[in-house]
C-alpha cells in the first residue's frame, strides 16, 4: 500500500524505562539485600547492606517545578559525588546517593551552595509539601500550589532541616475540592461557597448526561434555555464540590471573591499501629491570600506547635488528637468548634460519638 511520505514514527508502547539501568552500582549490587540503616543527621541516612557495603542517602528539598538548567545542575552534582545516580522521593525531594563517606560533606555543601536547597526531610521532620499544579498549569484551580508551598516551607524551614517533632508531619495542598493533593497530617484545601454558575451558551458543548451523572447528590437536571438544551442546579441539594466543573467548564464553581481555604488534619497513609486514617476538618474560612497566604501559615503553625508540645514519640498528629480527644484539640489551638465540623455526607453517622465517653 502506498502511503504519502511521512516521517518515520518512533516505536509505541515502550513501557517503563529499565530501573535496573538507573540504579547506583551499590544499589544494583545489594538489591534486596539491605540490613539496616543509621541516621547520620537529619537528611542523611547511612544504609548498610548484608555484604557490609554502605550507601549514604542525602535528601534535599526541591521546589518540584524546575528548569532544565536546575536539573542539569543536579546532574553535575550527582556526577561529581554520586557516580551519576540519584533518586526522587514521592514528596519531590531529591536523594543523592553517595558510596564514599568522605563525599557526604562536600556533597551537602554543593547542594546548599550550588542549588540553594536544604538537606533534611527525614524522620520526625516536616518533609516537602505535596502539591498540584494550581494557577501555573491547571484548568480548574481556585488557588495556586507551588506558591503556597514556597510560602509554607519558608515558614517551616527549621522543621525540615532538623527533626524536632514527635513524629513526621506530612503536609499537602490542593487547588480545588477534588483534592488531588490527597490525605495528609495537615492538608490545605479550597472551599467553594455557592452552586456552580452555569454558562448557558457554553454548556451546549458539554455531554449533558455525563454532567448529570457525575453529581454526587443528584442536584443537576436537564433544562431548556432559549429553546436549547441546558442544565440547571438545585441549589438546596448542591454541596459545592465542583465535580461537574471538572466535567464541564461551563459549570463554573470558582469565585475569586468568595472562595476560602480550610485546613484538615490527621490523615495517615501507613498501616503502622492503628492503620490508615482520613483527615478531618480543623479550621475553615481562611482567606485565599496570595502571594503568601499568611492566615493559613499562622493556623498551620498553631497546629504544629501544640502537637510539638503534646505529641508522644512516634505518635502522628492524628494519633495524638485521637488520644487527647478533639475537644482538647480545639481548646489547645483556640480554633472554634462549629456545626460545620459535624459531617453530613456519606458515613456521617460513623463519625458521631455513640458512647457516654466524655472528657470532663
Amino acid at each position: 500500500m502506498s502511503v504519502p511520505e511521512q516521517k518515520k514514527k518512533a516505536p509505541r508502547d515502550n513501557g517503563a524505562p529499565d530501573h535496573m539501568k538507573n540504579l547506583h552500582p551499590l544499589m544494583l549490587k545489594n538489591y534486596g539485600k539491605w540490613k539496616y540503616y543509621e541516621k547520620v543527621r537529619t537528611g542523611v541516612l547511612k544504609r548498610v547492606a548484608e555484604s557490609g557495603d554502605v550507601l549514604y542517602v542525602v535528601r534535599a528539598g526541591s521546589p518540584r517545578t524546575m528548569s532544565i538548567i536546575t536539573v542539569r545542575k543536579i546532574c553535575d552534582i550527582a556526577d561529581k559525588y554520586c557516580q551519576g545516580f540519584l533518586r526522587f522521593t514521592s514528596r519531590a525531594n531529591v536523594e543523592f546517593l553517595v558510596g564514599n563517606e568522605k563525599d557526604v560533606k562536600p556533597l551537602i555543601k554543593a547542594v546548599e551552595k550550588e542549588l540553594g536547597w536544604p538537606v533534611g526531610g527525614t524522620g520526625a521532620s516536616i518533609s516537602n509539601v505535596l502539591h498540584t499544579q494550581g494557577w501555573l498549569h491547571c484548568n480548574l484551580p481556585g488557588t495556586d500550589a507551588a506558591g503556597s508551598v514556597k510560602a509554607l516551607m519558608d515558614m517551616l524551614y527549621k522543621d525540615f532541616v532538623k527533626e524536632k517533632l514527635p513524629q513526621r508531619v506530612k503536609i499537602s495542598t490542593s487547588c480545588c475540592s477534588i483534592n488531588c493533593g490527597g490525605q495528609s497530617d495537615i492538608a490545605i484545601n479550597v472551599q467553594h461557597h455557592h452552586p456552580p454558575r452555569i454558562d448557558n451558551k457554553g454548556v451546549g458543548v458539554c455531554e449533558h448526561p455525563k454532567v448529570v451523572a457525575i453529581c454526587p447528590v443528584a442536584a443537576i437536571r436537564p433544562s431548556m434555555f432559549d429553546g436549547k438544551a441546558s442544565l440547571e442546579v438545585v441549589p438546596e441539594k448542591c454541596m459545592y464540590c465542583g465535580a461537574c466543573h471538572g466535567q464541564c467548564p461551563s459549570m463554573e464553581i470558582r469565585d475569586a471573591k468568595t472562595d476560602t481555604l480550610s485546613i484538615w488534619i490527621g490523615g495517615k497513609a501507613a498501616s503502622t499501629r492503628k492503620g490508615p486514617s482520613f483527615m478531618k476538618l480543623a479550621v475553615w474560612g481562611l482567606p485565599n491570600n496570595a502571594p503568601r497566604w499568611p492566615e493559613v501559615g499562622e493556623a498551620v503553625k498553631t497546629i504544629i506547635e501544640v502537637y510539638r508540645k503534646g505529641g508522644r514519640p512516634y505518635e502522628r498528629l492524628g494519633e495524638w488528637v485521637e488520644r487527647i480527644g478533639w475537644k482538647r484539640f480545639f481548646e489547645l489551638t483556640g480554633f472554634p468548634f462549629t456545626k460545620y465540623h459535624i459531617d453530613d455526607f456519606k458515613h456521617a453517622r460513623t463519625t458521631l460519638n455513640t458512647s457516654s465517653h466524655v472528657r470532663l
Binding site: N14, A16, H19, N30, R64, I69, V71, C75, H137, A213
Partner: protein, 427 residues
C-alpha cells in the same frame, strides 16, 4: 523555541517576586532564570502574576493525542494569549518514570536535551500520580518532542479513563523493610498492561501503588485502586542480642512506652529485662516495632504481599480506603507476578463489563457489594476482609431460599464461568 517576533511587553511580577525571598528554594527565581533563554517562560510568569492579582485562573484544558495514543498529553490554552502569545498553547507531556524514580544522570540529561530542543524547558519531578511532567510545548512541538522521547525509549504516561502510571516505594533498591521487589513488579505490570495505560478502555481511571511494607511509602491504601503491600508469613526475625543492646541503650521504659504498648494487637511482651517475646500468630505486620528497633527486628523470611482494592477520595460515595482482598500472595518469581497480573485481568473484566461510566472500582464495589464482587472475580470470602461480620440482619441467603422463589444454586456472573483460579489462602 518560538522566540517572540515583536518585542514583548516588559513583564513585571511584583507579587511573584515576594516568593523569591526566604530560605526554601523558589520556583519563581528558577523560572525567571530560565526565561533568559526561554522567553515564553517570562510570559508564563506574567500570566501567573495576573492570576495572583485576580485570584483567577487563565488556562483552558482540552485533549490532544499523539498518534496511536489516547492520553498522556495535558493540553492547555491560555485565555490571555493576546498579551502572552508565546504561551497560547502550553502543554504538558506525562512520561513514565523508571520504577521508584531512580535515575542515572545520563537518563536525566537526555530528558533535558530533548526538552530543551522542543519546549519551554520546565520539568516537574514528579506529578501526583508519579509521572515525569514536561511542561511547555505547543500543538506542533508536542508531537516532535513525543516522537523523539519515544525514539529514545521513553513512553507516555496515563490519563483519562485508563490505567494510570504506576508508582512504588524504593523497595529492594536500598530499604531493608521491603518484602518484595516493588520496582520489578511495577515495571512488570506497566509493561504487561501498557496498552490499557495508553488507550482509555476502562469505566474510569485505575491506579496501582506498590509499597514494600506496611509503612506504605507509596500511600497506596488511600491513593490507589489496587494497593500491593509487602508482608510476610511466619515469625518475624528477632536478634535478641540487638534487642538487649537496644534496651541497654534506651532503657526498659522506652521499650515499654514506645514499642510494647504501641503494638496494635498487643503481640509483644517483655521477657525478663533484656529480651522481648513476640506472639507472631497475633502480629498484623504493621511494622511499628520494626521501625523503632530496626537493627533488632526484621520482617520474616517467607515474604510476599497483601492486596487491597478500591481506594479513592470523597467523591461520589464518601472517603473510601482500599480494603483487603488477598491476605497473602507470594511475589518471588515471574510466575507469581503473572498470577498477580491474571487477577488484575479478572478484576478489569468484571468491573469493565459491569461498571458504570466514570465509576471507580471502589465505587463499583460499594454499589454491588463486596460479596458480589468476590463472586465476579472468583475470590473466596475470607474473614481478613472485614473488621467484623455484618450487623445488618436482612440477608438474601441464596442456598436457603425455596426453589420456587429463586433458590436454585446461583449462577456465577458470566465472566467467571471460565475456569476460576483461587489464590492460596493464608495458613
Amino acid at each position: 523555541m518560538s522566540d517572540a517576533k515583536k518585542k514583548p511587553e516588559s513583564i513585571k511580577t511584583p507579587l511573584l517576586d515576594e516568593l523569591t525571598t526566604g530560605q526554601w528554594p523558589s520556583f519563581v527565581s528558577d523560572l525567571k532564570n530560565l526565561s533568559k533563554v526561554k522567553p515564553q517562560v517570562g510570559q508564563l510568569l506574567g500570566q501567573l502574576e495576573q492570576s495572583y492579582e485576580d485570584r483567577w485562573n487563565y488556562w483552558q484544558g482540552t485533549v490532544l493525542n499523539v498518534d496511536g495514543y489516547g492520553g498522556g498529553v495535558i493540553a492547555r490554552y491560555s485565555e490571555l494569549s493576546e498579551r502572552f502569545p508565546d504561551i497560547a498553547q502550553f502543554h504538558t507531556i506525562r512520561i513514565i518514570p523508571p520504577s521508584g524514580w531512580v535515575y542515572s544522570t545520563k537518563s536525566l540529561r537526555q530528558l533535558c536535551d530533548i526538552w530543551e530542543k522542543h519546549s519551554a524547558g520546565i520539568m516537574q519531578m514528579h506529578g501526583m500520580t508519579g509521572d515525569i511532567l514536561l511542561l511547555g510545548t505547543d500543538n506542533k512541538t508536542t508531537f516532535d518532542a513525543a516522537e523523539e522521547l519515544m525514539e529514545a525509549g521513553w513512553d507516555l504516561g496515563g490519563s483519562g479513563a485508563a490505567l494510570r502510571t504506576l508508582a512504588c516505594c524504593v523497595g529492594d533498591a536500598y530499604c531493608e523493610s521491603s518484602c518484595f521487589d516493588t520496582m520489578g513488579v511495577t515495571k512488570y505490570l506497566t509493561d504487561r498492561f501498557i496498552s490499557h495505560l495508553h488507550r482509555p478502555e476502562l469505566p474510569y481511571k485505575f491506579k496501582f501503588k506498590l509499597s514494600g511494607c506496611a509503612n506504605d511509602c507509596a500511600c497506596s491504601i488511600q491513593r490507589s485502586d489496587m494497593p500491593v503491600i509487602g508482608t510476610w508469613k511466619g515469625p518475624m526475625q528477632i536478634d535478641q542480642k540487638e534487642v538487649g543492646k537496644f534496651i541497654k541503650e534506651h532503657g526498659v521504659d522506652y521499650v515499654v512506652n514506645n514499642v510494647i504498648t504501641r503494638c496494635p494487637t498487643q503481640a509483644i511482651q517483655m521477657k525478663g529485662s533484656k529480651e522481648i517475646a513476640v506472639d507472631n500468630g497475633n502480629c498484623v505486620r504493621c511494622m511499628h516495632c520494626i521501625n523503632v528497633m530496626h537493627k533488632a527486628l526484621r520482617p520474616g523470611k517467607q515474604r510476599g504481599a497483601t492486596i487491597l482494592i478500591g481506594g479513592k477520595r470523597t467523591l461520589k460515595i464518601g472517603d473510601t480506603m482500599s480494603s483487603m482482598i488477598v491476605p497473602f500472595i507470594p511475589l518471588e518469581t515471574k510466575e507469581d507476578w503473572e498470577k498477580l497480573g491474571d487477577l488484575v485481568e479478572k478484576i478489569w473484566e468484571f468491573w469493565g463489563e459491569n461498571g458504570l461510566e466514570h465509576e471507580r472500582v471502589g465505587e463499583f464495589i460499594e454499589r454491588v457489594g463486596l460479596g458480589t464482587f468476590l463472586d465476579g472475580v472468583g475470590i473466596e470470602p475470607l474473614a481478613e476482609m472485614v473488621i467484623h461480620p455484618r450487623t445488618n440482619p436482612y440477608i438474601k441467603f441464596e442456598e436457603l431460599a425455596p426453589g420456587r422463589m429463586g433458590g436454585e444454586p446461583r449462577k456465577r456472573p458470566s465472566v467467571v464461568d471460565k475456569e476460576i483460579e483461587t489464590f492460596e489462602k493464608a495458613e
